[in-house]
Every structure is written in C-alpha cells, then in structure tokens.
C-alpha cells in the first residue's frame, strides 16, 4: 500500500507528471484500478482539508481536479472491463447554475470536490430551469440539490426552483444548498433553501451530513 499512497502524495503536491507515472506503474504491476481510484480520492479529500484550513486556494482545487480528470480517463475504461462498477458512492448530488446565469467556475469546483469525496454528481450545467432540476431529482432520487449563482438578480429564480420542488411533492425528501458569491444567510432565508455553503468545502461537508 505504500506505493499507492505515493500517488495521493503526488496528487496533493499537484505533481501532475508524477501522478500519471505512478498510476501507469501500478497498472503495469497489475494493481486493481479501483484501489488506485480510492487512493486518488483519499488525496482529493486531503486537498479538500487543506482548502478548508486555508492552506490551499481555489487554484489548487482546480489543478487537482484537472489531474484527477486525466487519471480517471485512464482508469474508468478499466473499471468497466473488470465489471466492477466503480467506487462505492456516498450518495447522489444534483447540481446546476440557476436559470439566467451562465457562470460555472464555482459550480465546477464543487463538483470536483464532491467527486473526489466519492459522491455521484449529476451536473445539469448552467442556465438551468426549475423543471429540469425537478425532473433530475425525480429520476435520480437524490437527497441533495446544489444551486449555484454568481448574479444577485437570480434570487427570485432560486425561490421559484424551491417552490417548484414543493409543488412536485419533492421538498420533504430533498435538502437544498445554495452557494456562489452573492449568497449568504439572508439570501438563504429569502429563497427558502435549507443551507448556505460559504465555499466548496462547506458544500461537501453539508452533502456528507445529508447522507450521513
């Protein structure tokens, strides 16, 4: 296991080439791809912790997400071949940037961290209408919904989404988290969400609580 932990160490240090090299070495040795994925996830969790502790900043999250994306592109086909579906999921989170807002940087950072922590994420993209969120929640049965926004004129839109959840009878079984630059507790109160996540790490923590 000591070689495997070198992968997560290199990931935490953001040593892109070294991570890829080590992954290739492990695969050549016949190591189970799933255990490599789990090791990488452990690295991503450590990066999340460093971010929470203000040791790492958004750039480190984005860079680690990029490295992970390349690693997963390599490993995912192998996981399917093994008929070993994938790492056990912590739960499903539906996430999107709300209608009339096209910004996705913040949302994508949260997705990187959620995936790295083992969540199954359904990314609905940007400018997402209320009915699309409702439909996705119905299809996936997800218990957590993340709503992202950068523009403060979308507050009424967020409220509409949550009202649509109520109308469709989903409100009781879904916890709604809002995040993005203009959000705070006052906004959460206005739109009727369950939680406000100050940053990506807080969002992941809330999802863990919801699925605990």
């Amino acid at each position: 296991m000591s070689e495997l932990s070198a992968i997560s160490d290199a990931l935490v240090e953001l040593e892109e080439d070294k991570v890829k090299e080590l992954v290739q070495q492990e695969l050549a040795k016949g190591t189970d791809p799933l255990s490599i994925v789990l090791e990488c996830n452990a690295g991503m969790a450590r990066i999340g912790k460093l971010f929470e502790d203000n040791e790492y900043f958004l750039s480190e999250l984005i860079m680690s997400g990029e490295i992970m994306k390349d690693v997963m592109a390599l490993l995912e086909p192998l996981l399917v071949k093994n008929d070993d579906t994938s790492a056990p999921s912590q739960g499903t989170v539906v996430i999107g940037t709300v209608k009339d807002d096209l910004h996705d940087i913040g949302k994508n950072i949260v997705i990187t961290m959620l995936k790295g922590t083992g969540f199954n994420v359904v990314d609905l993209g940007v400018d997402v209408a209320a009915e699309t969120f409702v439909q996705s929640l119905q299809e996936t049965g997800a218990k957590a919904l993340g709503l992202s926004t950068l523009l403060n004129f979308t507050f009424p839109q967020i409220k509409l989404i949550i009202q649509a959840l109520e109308k469709s009878g989903l409100r009781e079984q879904v916890k709604v988290i809002i995040g993005g630059a203009p959000c705070n507790e006052d906004v959460r109160d206005f739109v009727g969400a369950d939680y406000y996540a100050k940053d990506a790490a807080a969002g992941v923590r809330l999802c863990k609580e919801i699925y605990a």
Binding site: F57, S59, I62, M63, L102, F153, N184, F190
Partner: protein, 454 residues
Amino acid sequence: MANEMEKLYAERLGRYQATIALESTDRMPVASGSNYFAEIYSGNTNQETIYDPEKWLQAEKTFIRDFPEVDVLRDNRVWAPLYDAVALKTYRLPGRELLPTNQVQFVEAEYMLANEYDLLIANPEQFILERFIPRVLGAAAHNGSPAANMAFLKGGMAHVMMSQIMRNRSQTLEQACGMPQPMTGAFLAPFDALSDAMRGLKGVLLDIYRQPDNVLAACDVLVDEMVSFALSTADPLRRYPIFVPTHKPTFLSPKQFDKFYWPSFKKTLQIIIDAGYKVRAYLEGDWGAHWHHLLELPKGTILCDIDVQGDIFKAKEAIGHHQCLAGGMPDSLLILGNAQEVRERVKLLCNTVGQGGGFIINGGCNIPYNTKPENYRAMLDAIVEFGVYDLSIKPVPRPAPPQLLNPQDLKKVVTPWESKLAELGGVLGDESLIRRPWELLENLGHTWIWQWIM
C-alpha cells in the same frame, strides 16, 4: 441654470477627488462606479441601456432628478452594435441571446492556445491580429474574406461612433446635470488580460504549473499594451480615475498572487500613476490575502472597491490609511433588506470605517440592478445625515495629479511612423502634418485590436 450646473459639477467632482486623495471634504461622496440600479430605475430594460443611448441618457436624467445627492454617474458601458458588427464571442447580451431584463454576461473560452506563448511574447500585436481576432470575432474567422473585411470596416466605424456617444453623454451629464464621471477609460491587470479572454481561468492555472516562465514573460509583455490602452481611453483632462476590474486574484494563493499577478500589475499601475492619472480598482472577490500590496503604490492614488466577500473593516485597517476605499453595504441588504436596516448599516459604516474620510459607501463593486428604490433612498439619506465631515469646507476640483511621464509617449501603434516614412522614402512637405494624424489613427487601431481582450 448653466452657472448652477457648473457649480454643482465642481462641488461634486471636488468632493470625489478629495476623498480619493484622502483629503478633508464636506461630506462622504455618493460615488458608486457601476450603478446598475440607475440604469433601470426609471423602467428601462438592460437591452435598452446597451442598444439605445438616448433612452439610457433619459434614464440617467430621471435618476439624477430623483437622487440629486449622487455625486458621480458613469457612462462607460458598451454600445452593443459594436459587438454585433464583429460578432464578438465573449459576451452574451440582453435582448440578443438573453432576456432583455438579464444582464451582460462574460463567457470564458480558450481563444489563445497553450502552445502560443512564444508568439504572444515575441510580437503581441501580430499575435492579436493573426491568431486571437480570427477566433474571438466570429465575423473575422477567415482573414481577408468579405465577411472579415466588413467586420473590420463596420467594427472600426462602430468604435468611433461609440466613442462619440460616450463623449456626448459625459458632456451632457456634466453640462445639463452637473454630474461628473466615476471613471473614464479602462484596462486590465496583465494577468487578467492573459487569463480572461485569452487562456481562460483553467488554462492559465494549468500554465502556472506547466509553463510558469511563459506566464511571467507574457504578463511582462502585456504591461505596455495595457498602459497604452488605459491612457488612450482615459479622460484627457485627467479629472477622473481610470477603471480596472480585477478578476482572478480571488482564485490565487498569496504565493501565486505575489509571483504571477502582482509584479506586472504593480508596474502597470505605477506607469499610469506616473503619467498623471489615478485608478479605480475593483478588487473582486476576496482580496484579503493580497490587498496589503496596495501600500506599495503612492498614497491616495488607487480607489479600491472592496467586494462583498471582502471584510471592509479589515480592509480599512490594512490599507484604508493609504488608499481610499469603497464598499461596506452588502448587496443582499440593498436587494432583500428594508430601509431601517440600510440606515443602520450606513450609520455603522460612517461611525467606524468612514471616520476621517477616504471612504465611499457602496455595494460590492456596484449598486445591484434589483436594489429596492426605498433602500437606495434610505442609503442616501443616511449618508447625508451620518457622513458629514466639515460643512465649512466648500469642495472644488483639485489640480490634475503631477506627471512624470508624457502619456503621448506611452500610447502604442502597430506600424510606427519611422517604418511608414522609410516606406515613403521621405516626404517633401511638413513631416509633422503627416506624422501626427498617422500616429493618431495607428493608436486608435491599436486600441481597437486590444479591446477584444476586455
């Protein structure tokens, strides 16, 4: 009437300038830079603001009539037909692909590839013309095609028309309403210039890890381009600060900021200050880990807008004794709160960070579109009540800041006069009569090709 407006203009400008310079004045100015609320307060859509200059001006006149305490109101928005003429890809516009009530939105993409640093560094103008413009202007995708030729032609004319529109607005606001500008002209920090429209945030962050030296060299090269752009779009009379929105620092660690963002930004700011200008900088996101650097520039030269994620009290403590600050009013309070809450917030700000001047109450780098009118009214009433310093002072405009550098020497061209003169093999008459307009048009062209990174 004219005299009265002149007086009002002088008083407002003097109040704003004194505050930026950290000097005493009668009261705290009401001086937001981006007052989005003003644009739609009287019922206009966001589409009308960017497509119909006359309707926009009417909206601002109505706004000034109803909120005469306001000291500055901006005119530097885009005239959208310019973007349509060239099919600029970086913006989604209200009324075009967005609802008329939505706002202008910037959409990032990689318009410069990771392997093109050498080209940008060796010859920035050539890079912009040959690589960047065909990608970022949909109409100019094929160099030399009829569509591309028309795009350059219409785009050039639209740019001149836009300049005239903005100049007329500025003059009308000054003469008919006694209203100065919060800023005129704009530029980007070199790192933002590289990462907004060229490499994109993800691209530039990968570059920081994969090719750090190229990122540094590109930022260095962009200093002179940004200085030229700033000085070419600035107020020739140097009454108003030049605008710089900062976009990426909130994503950077202090180490990354210190190495990749600050050195070239500082150089750009210092040259602009030496050319006799002040700067209004939107410190977007949380600059808490970075703003101490503003102490390195001369006192009272940079008006810093502190965003809602920044802590205005910490900002005051860290740099408020050296640079003027704006902010402190949460956007969500203007949108969702009530008049009493706004009044209390203003009172708190006036009694703390507002003490001693050098402070402007503002939302997070703007006044939001959906501010409740009664909250805005309450904000102004409270500023007039609690933001008084010394009513015996009658504010008057300050002399323009000192100049160590001549702005004319810093404005760039694509083809220098010397090359043209050599091509002509000398001229028979007065060379300066030919040279000056040549350089003027060259500089306009230079500004035109760089505006698409904004």
